[in-house]
């Protein structure tokens, strides 16, 4: 057994806390006893959103530390105690209050302090800085007596601070030394546009001002005197003129620091002493201090990796930023100032709407080097992609910053649809209607449903509606939330991995480990579906019952009046006369409406809850089994009659269809799956409109994947040709297992593949070339489902406890008197409202 080492972390700011959280989440966390010092009286909080404090957010809400975090993870925290000295020879840290700790490894996350220019009078009353919650409290107190506030510094932080002063109700000024606002990020025209917008908000901006003295004011507490002779009366002076690394403790113990400050670190985030790391704003990497939180977090993760024997290094960070400053969108990407050799500039200026955009492009016009966006930053994500990934620009790069016309379409997926495309055919809602609703502020699916009625009819377009919404929001620069629902901050794919890796088998366990609240009708069926495809227990096991949609609960399909339809499996659409008679007899006995489905089966409608087990008892005795029409699962494998009978048939399509349907029946998947097998290229089984389509040729089977009919039909893509049966089955096993693992909720194979980066070629490389090395695992996963297949109806009718639910009332044998049928063309159908009224009248009379 190894003895635990002691790890001391100096500083519990955002980066220090991120380090701790990453460390305790890492597999090797048991290696260390962890001690941390925090100079402030409270543990880490969100400094990025500090100004929210003035719009009512409390210190507790800003906290980044969950209750009990330190206790639960065995971390000792010394709150309100500052680490004062480091003795590197003895490896001892001593605090201001006299605590001494011997360390094996030490992490410096001391952060930075606000730079206050050495102007005479800088320490007068009401001259404050903007960094900690205590600073904010001092500002609040000062604002109570003052009328005017001035921020020194017109950078990112300065503008944030100006917002805080506005929120405090002060007349607000910004004083900037440089000739424009946000001089680091913006070019001259961008800075000018930003200034106009900020001034529109009632903030007075003074640029090119060098403060030489702060002294007694006449109308206010203070007066600022500038080098050009002008003066400004102000009560509060708020310094926000940049940050300086807090490297004093490192300096004192002889660690290497930069000329202008900052603790020098290497790519491992190690300082000049290999047992000491530095991360965040106190660290100097490659001559650079990173004053943003994301690079600090990256350093924290690097240090954790290094301390726990994993791979990881810090090699710089992108400083592109996008933010809303006082309600104004501002973004800067890469080389915003066009300093690169030969750089060319495109710019777009719209004085009426106060929008400014600028692109910096390489000399050959092919690569994006930088960009500036003021007033409208919707293109940020796209531009950042171009810049970071070196994607070749379109022929006319200015198209990227010129205003979009509504009927323009770019790319694939929902973007490829024209504005006139009808999304919801129930209510005839076009993509254009949806987009204009989004533009007026509808940013949720529910909001769009209310506003446009889309997806409030049959609901069949809900997935498409959501993808249009996501794509539009992304275009407008919103961050698209891919959380499954309010209970799980994960996608279905991520949840699937968590279930698989964590061996999670119940919803309670999943919720306790990865979610919150009680769950809902979105996450519960998804969890039930993942459990079914991963562990394949009976879906009506007690712990799974509450998870299932009513169709899965009662193993039948609910119809509009609350009755159910029953679909027994008819593999490959092949059925003997005797079986057909048996089916007919059941239909007749229970007076069910009978219809042939598109998948070559028979659907029996109008069964009440109490009839379902009786019906299935008879069907099972006759040799039928569940058709899984109620589940998100394999439905049918349609076939043409094939070479056994057909004059043109090349191979036995019916035989293969039956074999495949028996192989994959019962497989639970993100959405329904349909197959078809055609015996020759005449394609009578319509295989190219299925998720999995197979066509016989002289040279073997051709495999098509990811097609579907439905509201947005898609032809399947040719995936592989001339296959023997073993290879064919291997590929299908892999494609389906991969789909089950990685698709979103209710995502058909077509959308799954279209959204996949690299599309069909990538899918081929995963399945055929086994690029991810997953092939064997995917086949095993499928084999497990095949080996554990059971007819859900057979298991159910043999288990009295599962049958208990199949009554309309728990305390009575009565039936639902709201279920009323009338006769049409010799069969039953649910009564319409007008017919129902007549019926009621008759009954009352």
């Amino acid at each position: 057994m190894s003895i635990k080492q002691t790890l001391v972390v100096i500083g519990n700011g955002m980066v220090g806390q991120h380090f701790l959280a990453s460390l305790v989440a890492s597999p090797a966390q048991d290696q260390y006893d962890i001690v941390t010092f925090c100079e402030e009286p409270r543990p880490a909080y969100d400094r990025v959103h500090l100004s929210a404090f003035f719009s009512g957010t409390t210190a507790k809400e800003l906290s980044l530390v969950e209750d009990g975090f330190f206790e639960q993870n065995g971390i000792t925290i010394h709150l309100g105690d500052k680490a004062a000295t480091i003795d590197r020879a003895a490896k001892i840290v001593t605090s201001a209050k006299g605590v001494t700790i011997r360390y094996d490894k030490l992490v410096l996350a001391t952060g930075s302090y606000p730079f206050v220019p050495p102007v005479e009078g800088h320490d007068r009353a009401q001259c404050l800085v903007y960094r900690t919650i205590e600073d904010l409290e001092a500002m609040t107190a000062a604002a109570k007596t003052g009328r005017v506030g001035t921020v020194v510094g017109g950078g990112l932080l300065g503008l944030e601070a100006a917002k805080a002063l506005k929120d405090l109700g002060l007349e607000t000024h910004i004083v900037e030394f440089a000739p424009r606002l946000m001089a680091v990020q913006l070019d001259e025209a961008g800075g000018a546009m930003l200034r106009r917008k900020i001034e529109d908000l009632g903030v007075i901006v003074h640029t090119g001002k060098n403060t030489s003295l702060i002294t007694d004011g006449e109308t206010c507490v203070n007066k600022m005197c500038f080098a050009d002779g002008e003066e400004l009366e102000t009560d509060m002076v708020l310094f926000s003129a940049g940050i300086r690394p807090r490297d004093d403790i490192a300096r004192a113990c002889g660690l290497e620091v930069g000329q202008r400050g900052g603790i020098v670190i290497d790519n491992d985030c190690k300082t000049s002493d290999p047992d000491i790391y530095a991360i965040g704003e106190c660290a100097l990497w490659n001559g650079m201090i990173y004053g943003l939180v994301a690079p600090g977090y990256a350093m924290a993760r690097t240090a954790v990796a290094n301390l726990t024997g994993q791979e990881g290094s810090f090699t710089g960070a992108d400083m592109s930023t996008k933010l809303k400053l006082m309600g104004v969108d501002v973004a800067s990407i890469g080389d915003a100032h066009a300093r690169s050799q030969g750089a060319m500039v495109y710019s777009y200026q719209n004085g009426a709407d106060e929008i400014y955009k600028r692109l910096v492009v390489s000399a050959d016009g092919k690569k994006l080097l930088g960009a500036v966006l003021v007033g409208e930053a919707s293109g940020y994500s796209t531009l950042l992609q171009y810049c970071l990934n070196g994607i070749e620009l379109p022929e006319n790069p200015d198209a990227l910053i010129l205003p979009h016309r509504s009927d323009e379409s770019v790319g694939l997926g929902p973007d490829a649809l024209p504005a006139s495309a009808v999304i919801c055919s129930c209510y005839n809602v076009s993509k254009g209607n949806i987009c204009s609703a989004i533009e007026t502020g509808c940013t949720t699916v529910d909001g769009l449903k209310k506003e446009t009625q889309a997806s409030t009819g049959c609901g069949g377009c809900s997935a498409l509606l959501k993808s249009v919404l996501n794509s539009e929001l992304a275009k407008q620069g919103y961050e698209v939330n891919t959380d499954l629902c309010e209970h799980f901050a994960y996608t279905r794919q991520e949840l699937h991995a968590l279930v698989r890796v964590g061996q999670i088998k119940t919803f309670d366990d999943l919720l306790a480990k990865h979610g919150k609240g009680l769950g809902c009708e979105i996450c519960k069926p998804v969890a039930g579906n993942i459990f079914a495809s991963q562990w394949n227990e009976h879906i009506l096991e007690k712990s799974h019952t509450g998870l299932q949609d009513t169709n899965d609960t009662f193993l039948a399909n609910m119809q509009k009046d609350g009755t159910y339809s029953v679909v027994p499996r008819i593999t490959g659409g092949e059925i003997s006369p005797d079986m057909l008679i048996a089916l007919g007899q059941v239909g007749k006995k229970y007076k069910l409406y009978t219809k042939i489905t598109g998948g070559q089966r028979v659907d029996l409608f109008g069964a009440t809850l109490e009839q379902l087990p009786l019906i299935w008892k008879e069907l099972i005795d006759a040799g039928f089994e569940s058709g899984h029409a109620y589940g998100k699962s394999l439905r049918t494998v349609k076939s043409c009659v094939g070479s056994s009978w057909c004059r043109y048939g090349v191979d036995d399509s019916v035989g293969l269809a039956i074999e495949l349907e028996n192989r994959y029946k019962g497989l639970r998947s993100p959405h329904k799956i349909k197959f078809a097998v055609s015996g020759c290229t005449r394609e009578c089984a319509e295989a190219q409109s299925k998720d999995i389509g197979i066509i016989a040729t002289e040279n073997g089977w051709n495999l098509y994947v990811c097609g579907n009919g439905g509201m947005k039909p898609r032809h399947a893509d040719l995936f592989a040709t001339g296959l023997d049966k073993a290879t064919l089955i291997k590929y299908i096993d892999r494609v389906l297992s991969f789909y089950v693992r990685t698709a979103d909720r209710l995502q058909r194979t077509s959308v799954w593949m279209e959204n996949m980066e690299g599309g069909l070629d990538y899918l081929k490389s995963v399945i055929i070339d086994d690029k991810l090395g997953l092939g064997e695992q995917l086949e095993q996963q499928m084999q497990h489902v095949i080996d554990t297949y059971h007819c859900e109806w057979k298991t159910t009718i043999e288990d009295a406890s599962k049958l208990k639910r199949f009554h309309h009332f728990i305390n009575s044998d009565a039936t639902d008197d709201n279920v009323v049928f009338v006769e049409e063309r010799g069969q039953i159908r649910p009564a319409r409202d007008d017919e129902r009224k007549q019926f009621n009248l008759v009954e009352v009379a």
Partner: protein, 127 residues
């Protein structure tokens, strides 16, 4: 309170619903074993889907409200107030419900009262 004995707790479905017939009214009873109140009762009729199906919906919580999602079109109904979260013009009747010595009880008085007023409204509409 006038409690009517409905069934045993063991007749309920954990974290799910059942339907009971109480004084001629269809009552959907939902059972959350880990919840303080434990049982919730609302009318089983989905006024939007127009069918007696709410007991067969999935239960959960949406923004702090305990809800059932209709199995037909997935609107959420608040188990405590009967309000429809998607349409504020729609509510379903809510009934008092409790567990006493392992038995489930519904307040029949309240059921009758609310049901009468709903009937009266419906008649008013159709007339």
């Amino acid at each position: 309170m006038q409690w009517t004995d409905v069934c045993s707790v063991s007749d309920l479905q954990e974290n799910s619903g059942v339907c009971a017939l109480v004084n001629g009214v269809q009552v959907a009873i939902f059972y959350l074993p880990t919840d303080e109140q434990g049982v919730y009762a609302i009318n089983n009729y989905d006024p939007i889907g127009k069918a007696n199906v709410l007991s067969r919906g999935i239960i959960g919580d949406i923004k702090g409200h305990k809800v059932v999602a209709s199995p037909l079109y997935k609107e959420h109904f608040d188990l405590q107030t009967g309000a429809c979260l998607e349409d504020d013009t729609v509510t379903v009747p809510v009934y008092a419900c409790q567990i006493e010595n392992g038995r489930v009880q519904v307040d029949t008085h309240l059921v009758a009262l609310i049901e009468n007023s709903t009937n009266a409204q419906q008649q008013g509409v159709s007339a």
